[in-house]
Amino acid sequence: MRKHAVEGVRVVDFSWIVAGPTCTRILADFGAEVIRVENEQTMDYTRNSMAPPGSDSPNMGGLFNNLNRNKLGVTLNVMHPSGMELLHDLISVSDIVVENFSATVLKRWGLDYEAQRKIRPDIIYVSMSGFGHTGRDNRYVTWGPTAQALSGLTYMSGLPGEDPAGWGFSYMDHTGGFYGALACMNALHHRNRTGEGQWIDLSQVEVGMALTGPAILDRTVNGRSFRREGNPPGNRAPNYKVAPHNTYRCRGEDRWCVITIFNDEEWRSFVKTIGAPEWTSDERFATNEGRYDNQDELDRLIETWTAEREPHEVLHKLQAVGVAAGAVQTPKEKIEDDPQLRHREFLPKVEHPELGVTEYEGQPMRLSRSPWELRRSSPLFGEHSQKVFGELLGIPEEQITDLMVEGAI
């Protein structure tokens, strides 16, 4: 019986590092049969990043395992004629092809969209490159941080007057992956209705640009650039005239909480909860306007209260009275000490042959009838070559062995 939302959808996955694998992780978690096509010469370096010292196993990368669970893995050498033939056979029985190479790679392989269509007329092909496949700069190269910087997102993060703090990770790899998956789902919906496939040309820089809507309008409507004094806005509310709204130091080394108060009623609840110290009766703080105009001083005074407390005490005390407050949580706290994530079973475990039993990040959307599921850990390098080429493509075992010997698999 059918169990998963995209069960029966087969994906040929050439993707690597973070962006593409994020896209296919979503598809795999909801039941698609995702087949990672890999190669020894250009191995995904996340396969052994985070491996224990001295390990040269391609199967011990923690980031890789987290991103590639629920997928199958085969090896294939596209430079070998028999390898290319196998790839054609694989595409002919698949629904979606995903890759996040530079713009010219698949074309060089003779596998652009038109070529893929000849093999499989209703194929959905998602190319995830930095600059897109068309346009004068389509040969430019990106990593996640490149796309973040060019699209404006790096600049939007930081304290005013300081260097940009940017994003501490490849946010555009995540977001590129989300939009890759979203595009796949749009295309599947269209194909369910019409039988037609299509090619999706995704540029990671454009994905970032698409998230800057209000800043673009401020320029095109009001003639005001985001590059101006006071920007980026630190942790204050850039879109509301409200205060307090900031990070505050807590007890302990590098411990922080956030407090965001949007109206006078929440302010009064806050004051009562912190025991109404004398400074809170200062009339400048009685109205939202006054708090906003005097927020440097307000923030300093609030910190005298938070500095005596741990972040989670601030979280629970203020949330109990309806104030949106939070702890700046560490990965350790999310994994070991977040009762909400635990209640929601957000970090399920499964065994990996070399890494043992570990937690995996979940999917943040629960579907009542066709939920995502952690079915297996990430594929060992080449683990499913026999299964995929033998069972799926019907190639006899001895021939698979020959293909391995001649370097096609």
Binding site: M50, G135, P145, T175, H189, G213, N239, L341, R366
Partner: protein, 417 residues
């Protein structure tokens, strides 16, 4: 295939969301779905978000609202009045999707929760996006973009390592909600695919806390597999071990993000040749550095020194000169642009036609908006401006529900719409 309509053109979506969830409806509307935004009479609170056109606060002129509510029609409806509740149920009868971001339990308390609405329309896909999910000890906790980015751990990874006392930083732009809407929209389409296969609707329960919690790249696996915590570093990746600063100031007051200097031997030799042509390679032509580059060394005194020399070279040029020069040599270097500076980039603005011209007939103006996040070559993307408050009351209640003008007027007078 020359489809004139988008991939989701057969769908009708009801959008009851506030600021948290409004991006979902835009993503679906721009793919062709008919999206009807339902707000309380007078308009929802998302219309109060800055900036405003000409800085004048007006519910129809919030640029933030404009940006996240394109490609929607808009009606007003008071869900707290029994008549409003009946009208919503009538709309649900003919809808495919309902998107909402109320506090958990609120719609249930009005008799409009998933169980009630799925009784009206069993094929309905209903997506609920909330701060922490529909159940659990934090289910009634309030969220905000800052709370979401703190609790989910994004902020643990973002900030400064060379600014004593600096707090963790929340990248601005509303990304806690954007990340969540991206996930929740994918979940909605997953549910629609299930419906295509089985005919069944379902409820999608999406959590902002969880969406942020799985959007921190290596932070979680680093702890799971090594029990170490990554640390924040100015303008670059978090790391367990410190790495050199990659922000390099230019002669025109910008920054170039260099990412890494020793990425491969070939790239290193190309870089040194480029600097040498300008007479600025200093001692980097020394073969000693070749070996470091061949080893792709990421940290240490040689890397630090190489960065110092590279920074001097960059500081003597404009951002545009370095960006084009570097990319012409296949280095993934970038200008740290202000978002609006992308408007002047011909590759995106001209060749790929990224930006969209959107008409505002009510103002007699046309404005440039951000465009599509991807090009779907078989099914077009479209956009049009966000709805004015209650703009489509007459057409939705009159034409779709068959109400007479008198009836609509009575609802208006009673504050139901």
């Amino acid at each position: 295939m020359n489809n004139t309509q988008g991939a989701l053109t057969d769908l009708t979506v009801l959008d009851l969301c506030d600021e948290k969830g409004q991006y979902m409806g835009k993503l679906m509307g721009e793919m062709g779905a008919r999206v009807v935004k339902i707000e309380p009479p007078g308009g929802g609170p998302a219309r109060d978000i800055r900036p405003f056109r000409n800085d004048v606060q007006d519910p129809n002129q919030s640029l933030h609202f404009w940006a996240f509510n394109t490609a929607k029609e808009g009606v007003t409806l008071d869900l707290e009045q029994p008549e409003g509740q009946e009208i919503l149920k009538k709309l649900v009868e003919n809808a495919d999707v309902l998107l909402e971001s109320f506090d958990p339990g609120y719609l249930d308390s009005l008799g409009l929760g998933y169980s009630a609405l799925s009784a009206v329309n069993p094929e309905l896909v209903m997506t609920s996006l909330t701060g922490f999910g529909q159940d659990g000890p934090y289910r009634d906790y309030k969220t905000s973009d800052l709370v979401a980015m703190a609790m989910g751990g994004v902020m643990h990874s973002c900030g400064y390592d060379d600014l004593p006392g600096a707090p963790p930083i929340r990248p601005s732009g509303g990304h806690g909600y954007i990340i969540s809407c991206n996930y929740a929209t994918i979940g909605t389409l997953m549910a629609l695919n299930w419906r295509d296969m089985t005919g069944e609707g379902q409820h999608v329960d999406a959590s902002i806390h969880e969406a942020c919690s799985c959007t921190t790249e290596a932070a979680m696996p680093t702890y799971i597999y090594t029990k170490e915590l990554v640390k924040r570093q100015t303008g670059r990746h978090h790391g367990v071990q410190p790495t050199p600063k990659t922000l390099c100031p230019t002669s025109d007051g910008r920054y170039i993000n260099v990412f890494a200097v020793f990425t491969s031997l070939d790239q290193w030799l190309t870089l040194v040749r480029w600097m040498d042509e300008a007479g600025m390679a200093e001692d980097l032509t020394d073969p000693h550095y070749r070996d470091m580059a061949a080893m792709r060394l990421r940290a240490g005194p040689e890397v630090d020194h190489a960065f110092v020399v590279v920074k001097k070279f960059i500081a003597a040029h404009t951002a545009e000169e370095i960006y084009r020069g570097a990319q012409g040599r296949k280095f993934p270097w970038a200008i740290v642009r202000s978002p609006d500076e992308t408007l002047d980039d011909a590759h995106f603005a001209e060749d790929r036609g990224f930006f969209a011209e959107v008409e505002h007939p009510e103002l007699g103006e046309t404005y440039t908006y951000v465009g599509r996040p991807y090009i779907m070559n078989g099914t077009p993307w479209r956009t049009f401006r966000s709805p004015l408050v209650g703009e489509h009351n007459d057409s939705v209640y009159g034409e779709d529900l068959g109400m007479s003008p008198d009836e609509i007027e009575r609802l208006r007078a009673n504050g139901v719409i």
